[in-house]
């Protein structure tokens, strides 16, 4: 079964199309990422999927329930971790989870068992009776993920799960997301504007920009699609090597920089042994081989003509102003 089905979804705010005719689906147990800059329409999409915003056009089904006609069934099937913090910091970790569990109608025995389970899953069991106002940013985020899992949701939404966290904390959160996906067999839809995050976590990635999904595929495929891998080699006689590889059609480009030979190739990992063998057969000494894979950053650049960071600076202010004017309606 498909955990999420989105067909020709459009959301307009005063004539502005925040989400413009997008379609995608998320399979059971899959981690699907929507990757794009701020204001691309990621959060709007999540808000529609979580029934807090109504779609203008299109069909949206979560766990088989239509968001328009069965919002309550949708709400029971999903867990959400919002972009902004949504904990009550005057309550303890356990109290926040207990509050949530009661709202979702869980009985006492189940609540107790599940609170222990999810707190241990995110590594906060020792801090369970501490008031949330004494938690660090990373701990809050982990508690929110735990809360999103409390009521055994079938689908979990993570809206920018590591926004504003330091590198170390981000890695911890990623580990937790991966392990819960495996242990709970839960479908996860996450939005992010971090390339590395989408790359590390997602089975499939949809690149979204200005309300449109440009492409959906596995991260590896996306990267193979745009870029050639770059192999750099330090050799005893690089000039000789250039001549040797000139005949191969999988070598798209060869350049010599600072004594290093750079080769743009397809499927670089398979080509390293070939190149090394070739060098040795021709008695060229190989001192160093390095392979750089294209990143999703390159993919984004390929599809939009801009890097995601450029986008950040120029449009962030404009978008936040636009958001504010929507909210004022």
């Amino acid at each position: 079964m498909q955990a999420i089905q989105v067909l020709n979804l459009t959301k307009e705010f005063n004539g502005f199309k925040a989400v413009n005719d997008i379609s995608f689906s998320v399979e059971e147990g899959e981690i699907f990422g929507l990757l794009g800059p701020n204001g691309a329409g990621k959060t709007t999409t999540i808000r529609i999927l979580s029934t807090t915003l109504r779609p203008t056009k299109g069909k949206v089904k979560v766990w088989g329930y239509d968001v328009k006609t069965d919002p309550d069934d949708v709400r029971r099937s999903i867990g959400i971790v919002f972009q902004d913090q949504t904990l009550d910091d005057r309550l303890t970790g356990v109290e926040n989870l207990d509050f949530h569990a009661r709202l979702y109608g869980m009985d006492k025995k189940m609540r107790k068992k599940r609170i222990e389970q999810v707190l241990k899953l995110v590594g906060l069991w020792d801090k369970r009776n501490t008031l949330v106002k004494y938690y660090s940013g990373g701990m809050c985020r982990r508690l929110e993920i735990a809360r999103g899992l409390m009521h055994y949701p079938k689908v979990l939404f993570l809206d920018e799960p590591t926004l504003g966290l330091d590198a170390q904390t981000r890695h911890i959160i990623w580990e937790h997301i991966k392990s819960l996906n495996q242990r709970e067999k839960i479908a996860i839809l996450l939005t992010t504007h971090y390339m590395d995050e989408a790359d590390i976590l997602c089975n499939r990635v949809g690149i979204i920009d200005r309300g449109k999904i440009l492409v959906i595929d596995r991260p590896e495929n996306l990267k193979n699609l745009v870029g050639k891998d770059i192999i750099s080699m330090k050799l005893s006689s690089p000039e000789k090597m250039i001549k040797l590889v000139a005949g191969f059609d999988w070598v798209k480009k060869s350049e010599l920089h600072d004594g290093l030979l750079y080769l743009k190739v397809t499927k670089g990992d398979e080509k390293i042994p070939l190149l090394v063998n070739l060098a040795q057969k021709n008695s060229i000494n190989v001192e160093l081989v390095n392979l750089r894979k294209p990143t999703l950053e390159d993919v984004f650049l390929h599809f939009t003509g801009r890097t995601i960071r450029q986008e950040e600076g120029s449009t962030r202010q404009r978008i936040s102003m636009r958001l504010r004017s929507w909210r004022r309606r």
Partner: protein
């Protein structure tokens, strides 16, 4: 969705109580303010002021002031409880509540139940302070009636707070409500001075102030003096509660987060 969930009402009530008990500075502030009112205002006016009307003979200003101060505390803390939706919106917690599979009506009722309870607790603490100043209620029955009046005032104003909070985008509206709604309601309620012998334009404003009936009702049951018959006070307050609960639930159900 349309059903009322008692579990949801209970858990919202529980949250209100827990956070109330933990906010020590708020509790102290709520007790200190009426203490100053009684100790300075009450004692100060008591010695220099005598009520002219025969009905009020034998009542000193301190006694007169106590139901007014209770009304004031009820108004402030219940409006704040309703407006606390703004804080929840600001700190994001409102979203957590709004995506739960629980009807909006249950959410409003839970907030009203919690706000009403903490409000009554504060009113009772004022009553205790007043008791230290020599204030006495006539008996068990009037204490019980006072509790009902407190509950009605609490429910009505929490509902009003919810209604305002649902229409406001952020915290900026709070000061406006404070200055243009809460303060006039307090000053016009007859909490500080009697309704007798005031000019008619002021009287009109006081008559449309719902808190007037609350304070007058409490004076009736606590002191045996009142401007309106007690039945009128009760009727107006009950009507006020119904209107505010309906309005609050309606506006809250329409609001987006």
């Amino acid at each position: 969705m349309r059903k009322i969930s008692f579990e949801a009402i209970y858990v919202l009530w529980l949250r209100e109580i827990k956070t109330f008990v933990r906010a020590r500075s708020r509790i102290i502030g709520n007790i200190v303010q009426p203490f100053f009112f009684l100790a300075i205002f009450g004692v100060g006016f008591k010695s220099s002021m005598k009520f002219a009307t025969p009905q009020m003979s034998g009542i000193d200003y301190m006694q007169f002031l106590v139901p007014g101060l209770i009304g004031m505390a009820l108004l402030f803390s219940s409006m704040f409880a309703g407006l606390s939706i703004l804080w929840d919106r600001q700190f994001g917690f409102l979203r957590e509540i709004m995506v739960a599979p629980v009807s909006r009506l249950s959410l409003v009722l839970g907030r009203v139940a919690g706000g009403m309870t903490t409000t009554i607790l504060q009113a009772l603490s004022i009553l205790l302070i007043a008791w230290l100043f020599g204030f006495r209620i006539k008996g068990g029955a009037s204490f019980f009636l006072s509790l009902i009046l407190m509950a009605l005032i609490g429910i009505g104003f929490v509902g009003m707070g919810v209604a305002f909070a649902s229409k406001m985008e952020d915290m900026h509206g709070f000061q406006i409500v404070m200055n243009f709604i809460i303060m006039p309601i307090f000053f016009l309620s007859g909490a500080l001075f009697p309704l007798e012998g005031i000019p008619s334009w002021l009287g009109f404003l006081m008559y449309i102030d719902p808190l007037t009936y609350g304070v007058d009702g409490m004076r009736a049951v606590m002191l045996g003096i009142s401007h309106f018959p007690l039945a009128v006070n009760f009727t107006v307050l009950i009507a006020f509660c119904i209107v505010m609960l309906t309005l609050g639930s309606y506006l809250f159900s329409k609001c987006e987060v």
